[in-house]
């Protein structure tokens, strides 16, 4: 009995000390981590912002669209709105393509107010290294073929990879990943067309 009490007390003391250690480290690093996250976010939105004229703070104009929605992915989609002098310029969607080779592919799709793609950037994925991962901007310029495209350019039948009779290049040896991304971009454009007004007029939510 005595040994149980003693053992329990030792465990409790060590647990308290360990918790203190973690809490201390957390306090010391929290600000830096937040700044890093913010910098990473701004850097990753950049590819969809180049060439746009705007004067608003993009990361502060975030809204989330809770499921169910018609955007790719089953979780809440994130949208950053871009304004110039109060007028809408573009919307940047962060969506998840669900039908990749291995897990969801997080894709940033920028759409300007007239419905043209301003830029596509693959943020996160677990596709096969050396095959599907060539959708990464650092590894090939595959994502650039979407710049300036819209729902009517190409026509709906062309919104597929060439292997499926569409207009977009696939990657040699990997068609699942490009197919998933093309589909996600098209679904995002369709959503934007249907909900343009509410996206730009909805009030900003407090960032989580």
């Amino acid at each position: 009995m005595n040994s149980i009490v003693k053992g329990g007390a030792t465990l409790a003391i060590i647990a308290a000390l360990c918790t203190a250690l973690v809490a201390l480290t957390y306090t010391a690093t929290a600000d830096r981590i937040e700044a890093n996250e913010q910098a990473w976010l701004e850097r990753s939105l950049q590819p969809a912002l180049s060439g746009l004229f705007f004067d608003s703070n993009v990361t502060e104009s975030m809204i989330t669209i809770p499921p169910p929605h018609n955007l790719p992915g089953t979780e809440a989609a994130i949208v950053y709105r871009v304004f110039a002098e109060g007028a809408p310029v573009a919307a940047l969607f962060v969506v998840s393509a669900r039908d990749g080779y291995a897990g969801p592919i997080r894709v940033l799709v920028g759409v300007d107010v007239s419905g043209l793609v301003t830029g596509v950037h693959v943020l996160e994925h677990r596709e096969t290294p050396g095959l599907g991962d060539r959708v990464e901007p650092a590894k090939s310029d595959w994502v650039q073929q979407f710049d300036g495209r819209s729902l009517t350019d190409p026509a709906p039948a062309g919104w597929a990879i060439k292997r499926d009779g569409g207009q977009f290049d696939q990657l040699t040896g990997a068609s699942v990943t490009p197919r998933a991304i093309v589909k996600a971009i098209r679904e995002t454009l369709l959503y934007f067309e249907a909900h343009r007004e509410e996206i730009f007029s909805s009030r900003q939510e407090a960032a989580e």
């Binding site: 465990l11 060590i14 981590i33 290294p129 095959l131």
Partner: protein, 219 residues
């Protein structure tokens, strides 16, 4: 059993008792993250720091810990240290943290760490335990770096690319020999082949030494 000399302990950690090559501990991170040199270096360094700190804490508390509850206490200590390391990586090496992903928190499950706590730190002085953590961690980190270097060279055709993940700045491509390489090396099977090759090379060297000096045994 006389205490092994300083040099002997280094020789053991780096070669004769290398946690990865000989004890085959911590294979999960070893196989998973070694697709590039910088990943191997990052995880190797994180493991080294955790190993030294956990050995130090386990050794410092060894007199108050009843044998029945030692394992939960090791787990507590190691898990807290790994959480701290993860926060520090997120704060100072965010790109590397993103690249290593889940494998930083998974250092907790690296059995090399709990093995050193149990086998060494729970029975030896703090200074000696820190040294043990250092040599064992260095042995593990060097294996991670060697395999990372090898797989990156074969699989990507580059050497030490993306060092910016450690030092910041623009993406650095390292020394690029060819564009693209033999894909198999960076896929999971390549990790097993590379480790097998490393173990085979080590055994071949040991055998050659043994046949050169047949009378001398190593302990």
């Amino acid at each position: 059993m006389s205490a092994p000399s300083f040099a002997d302990r280094f020789r053991n950690g780096l070669w004769y008792e290398n946690p990865g090559l000989v004890q085959l501990l911590g294979l999960c991170p070893l196989l998973a993250v070694t697709s590039t040199f910088v990943n191997g270096l990052g995880l190797g360094f994180a493991t080294l720091v955790v190993l030294m700190a956990s050995n130090a804490l386990v050794s410092a508390t060894r007199r108050w810990i009843q044998p029945q509850i030692r394992i939960p206490i090791y787990v507590l200590i190691i898990a807290s240290l790994v959480t701290c390391i993860e926060l520090i990586f997120k704060a100072f090496f965010p790109a590397l943290d993103r690249s290593l992903g889940i494998f930083i928190p998974l250092i907790v499950t690296n059995c090399a760490i709990v093995a050193r706590a149990e086998v060494f730190a729970s029975k030896n002085s703090v200074a000696s335990s820190i040294l043990d953590g250092f040599v064992m961690g260095t042995g593990f980190a060097m294996l991670l770096m060697a395999i990372g270097l090898f797989r990156e060279l074969i699989g990507h055709g580059s050497i030490v690319s993306r060092m910016d993940m450690l030092f910041g700045g623009d993406p650095m491509r390292g020394l690029v020999l060819t564009d693209g390489g033999w894909l198999l090396a960076i896929l999971p099977p390549g990790a097993f082949f590379s480790l097998a090759l490393a173990i085979a090379v080590k055994n071949a060297i040991d055998d050659r030494r043994k046949s050169a000096m047949p009378r001398r045994t190593r302990r």
